[in-house]
């Protein structure tokens, strides 16, 4: 499958209760690189192997949570096409000017049925991964902390996840990869959607409050590096929610943990590749424990209740 519409998650703008503490955590413990600060005080970060200027933006605020989640699209023509399709679908869109976010082009911002703000953009300055494009080495030296390869996906919580799914499928050409059904056998408790050949690029869980964040996830290369991440979390007394363990859904190995403002993050590795000729996988409500936490085979109370 050629990936030629929405390419991938491109940025998560997260709120921080204490910006200095958060910047220290994201750079020294998680091991992202700070790439800039703007006039309004937002701090821009990227994972080492990402080429674009930023994938995480931190904003000082009086509450935790996710301001918006952005997806990069192939080019300006795709951006215009998708904006047109959103409007035809009945979704109001807003153009945020180029340069509002550092090194980032014009963004098309819209609200999805669960109340989250989603952005599409085509341009972001490529600063490279430090290895160059000609005869590169295998990895960058002098990495700090956990040092994931990239920001990979998000899990969001809100009411109308059915409306979300239809919008992502019908307008943005995402595909359903996995779902968990409630006891009635028809209502989705949760869905996992892809715009690429990853097992998921965004996921959503039905929840009584809109616009909530469950986690933003960062990709590691191996299970061994997931264990190393857990060691680094303990060395730094990071608040861990669950893991290291494995998800039944996507089969990724995982740790859920919290940033200094209580926003849940994930470091994960593995999971399968998805192709458009695969059928979606369905999990029943009575197997949701194994679906989420493959080894514990039960949910921890925090999974459905602790969000920002």
């Amino acid at each position: 499958m050629a990936i030629n519409g929405v390419l991938r998650p491109g940025h998560a703008v997260l709120r921080a209760l204490d910006l200095d503490e958060s910047v220290h955590f994201y750079t020294e413990v998680l091991g992202l690189q700070e790439t800039g600060r703007d006039k309004s005080g937002r701090v821009y970060l990227k994972a080492w192997d990402e080429r674009d200027h930023n994938s995480v933006v931190l904003r000082q605020a009086d509450r935790a949570g996710l301001d918006c989640f952005g997806f990069k699209v192939l080019n300006d023509a795709t951006l215009n096409t998708l904006e047109g399709r959103l409007r035809e679908y009945g979704v109001s869109t807003e153009r945020v000017p180029a340069g509002d976010m550092l090194e980032t082009g014009e963004r098309v911002r819209f609200q999805i049925p669960t109340g989250h703000l989603i952005e599409l953009y085509a341009q972001k300055t490529s600063v490279g991964n430090g290895l160059g494009d000609l005869n590169p080495e295998a990895w960058a030296p002098n990495q700090k902390g956990i040092s994931p390869l990239r920001m990979d996906h998000a899990l969001i919580y809100g009411g109308d996840i059915d409306g979300n799914r239809r919008l992502f499928e019908d307008v943005l050409e995402f595909t359903l990869v996995e779902r968990v059904k409630l006891e009635d056998g028809t209502t989705d408790l949760a869905t996992w959607l892809t715009c690429s050949n990853k097992a998921h690029d965004i996921a959503m869980v039905r929840h009584h409050e809109d616009a909530k964040l469950h986690h933003v996830s960062f990709m590691l290369e191996t299970w061994e590096s997931v264990l190393r991440a857990a060691d680094i979390m303990s060395m730094n007394r990071v608040s861990i929610d669950m893991g290291p363990t494995r998800h039944g859904i996507t089969r990724g190995t995982t740790i859920y943990f919290f940033d200094p403002s209580g926003n849940r993050l994930e470091t994960f590795s593995g999971g399968y590749q998805w192709y458009p000729d695969q059928n979606p996988i369905t999990w029943t409500w009575d197997e949701v424990g194994r679906a989420i936490y493959y080894h514990d085979r039960k949910l921890n109370p925090a999974f459905l209740s602790v969000v920002t």
Binding site: L17, D18, D62, R63, A64, G65, L182, E183, L189, H207, H208, E209, S239, D241, F258, D259, P260, S261, G262, N263, R264, W285, V288, L299, P301, A302, L304, S305, V306, V307, T308
Partner: protein, 111 residues
């Protein structure tokens, strides 16, 4: 560092908490229960309590869960307060969502 007794009125249990540690981490470190444990970093609100007696110091916590007025009147997130005297507290937060669809008042809806 000095330790202080933290008494949870709901469960009638108490534990010793170091001045350098948050009430929530102090409880967890001793394997005790009574206050719901969420993010531990002031963001999610499930460990909201009302301190009914005693003194403590606070760190920044989410205004989505504790307003300035509430904070002034003794409400706080247990993960963001450290005791400077013995404390008595009442639990306000909860974790009630289940796959069976129970969406009774969560911490954010708590009074």
């Amino acid at each position: 560092m000095p330790r202080h007794r933290v008494f949870i009125e709901d469960t009638q249990e108490s534990f010793a908490c170091d001045e350098a540690q948050s009430v929530l981490l102090g409880m967890e470190a001793l394997g005790r229960k009574g206050i719901p444990v969420g993010c531990r970093n002031g963001g999610c609100g499930v460990c909201k309590v009302e301190v009914t007696s005693g003194q403590y110091v606070t760190r920044v916590m989410s205004r989505a869960h504790v307003s300035a007025e509430e904070e002034a009147s003794g409400r706080a997130l247990a993960c963001r307060i450290r005791p400077t005297t013995d404390l008595r507290l009442r639990v306000l937060g909860s974790m009630r969502a289940t796959v069976c669809g129970d969406t009774r008042a969560s911490a954010t809806d708590a009074p």
